[in-house]
Symmetry: C2
Subunit: 272 residues, 2 copies
Amino acid sequence: MTQNPTIPSPTGTTRLYAMLGHPIAQAKAPPMMNQLFVQLGVDAVMVPVQASPQALPGVLAALRRIDNMDGMLVTIPHKFAVCDGVERLSPAVQLAGSANALRRAADGAWEADNFDGRGFVAGLQAEGWEPAGTVIGLVGAGGAGVAIAAALVMAGIASIRVRDVRAGQAEQLVRRLNAHRAGVAQVEPDGTDWAGADIMINATPLGLGSGDPLPFDPLVLPKDTLIADIIMKPRETRLLQCALGRGMPVLHGEHMLSHQIDMYRRFFLGDA
Amino acid sequence: MTQNPTIPSPTGTTRLYAMLGHPIAQAKAPPMMNQLFVQLGVDAVMVPVQASPQALPGVLAALRRIDNMDGMLVTIPHKFAVCDGVERLSPAVQLAGSANALRRAADGAWEADNFDGRGFVAGLQAEGWEPAGTVIGLVGAGGAGVAIAAALVMAGIASIRVRDVRAGQAEQLVRRLNAHRAGVAQVEPDGTDWAGADIMINATPLGLGSGDPLPFDPLVLPKDTLIADIIMKPRETRLLQCALGRGMPVLHGEHMLSHQIDMYRRFFLGDA
């Protein structure tokens, strides 16, 4: 999708979906979901909802009480907090501790799932990389990072090593993953050279800004290490440019999202 | 406007407007406002928000806390309740006790106004009827009725007589109007024949359903009495059909809304 699609105006009968975040201007999902609704002939619209962390619990509770609100997508920084605002958590959400999609179930309760990780794994596999048995290096244990780690563990990786500038975040993720499968995860110390990793993943926001430092140095890694970034804009971050310049294989951030749209469709609309 | 307009999909930068009601499926304003946003090149969308009376205070408080929420329109049954959820009430809202439009002011506070009444008066005048000096019969002292009564009093009518099946509603409106201008209003008893009224207004929901009884009997009134209905769908209610069949002048419900759109534009967008 290269430009913003046109859609029928919402009317009184239109069902609502919210995209929750703070900030929200960068969100790519609303036009993608709205294009999907048009293609499927579904009378629904997704709108951006910017709510501060302080406002989030009240806003989520109130959005749930809107009769024609059927679902929400969640982005930075609310992926952890929304888990406290719904009744049911999927296995992926329980393992990751974060959610990026909420829906109203048939009985009126709300349930959370997380497709960031499964989207990443699907993108990886579609590009010809099978994560089972590999060693993963993950930089960033925020909302996206924990989801990717959980999905990779569920996909059968050999092990995962995690670093986050907030040491507590990495420790909490590693504890959670090891509780699920003993010994699969460890915290990686500051200054590590990541020797032995097959796939290195940037799940931090570093690279959104053109002056950002690299999340890790790809130049000291073996040249066949896959360098993956979850940042979508710019399409080629400085990290990926460095790796490509050296002839290393890369995975762009767009793959994580492009595979999620079909998952969202099934989650929100079933067989529509 | 005969069909639903096409608009650009909301993106992450889109500003939000909500149309609050219960039910909300009948609301005409979202497509009209969305067409206006497109015409003006404003990156904004109005969506329907159905919230029950029990949920309304919490939903309103939370919608106010959404950073990109700039305004709301309000319909049945929330026009009274929303007055308790904002900091500032316009003179029209203070007189009517009901509001149909809310906006975030430059300082972050929310302010309420009511364009139902002014829309009705503008529609009346555009069709060649001047309310100043006339005697009004009003059936229905709900959210729309009180706004119309307030605007007519502000426009200089001689007097207004009000009936509502909920006697307390009519009494409350009459008290409010007489506090503003002593003696301008009185409660009209059940079974009245409305003798002496120049303009008779239906501001009840009677006529939305094809089997509804008439809100009052136009056949016993002088043939030059103007019969006005605020119902928009069907365009010609049974009340208006009866009046037209007898050659009486009528005012359709659509005039009230068509003149409000320009007022909404100025209220929400200023000189955009």
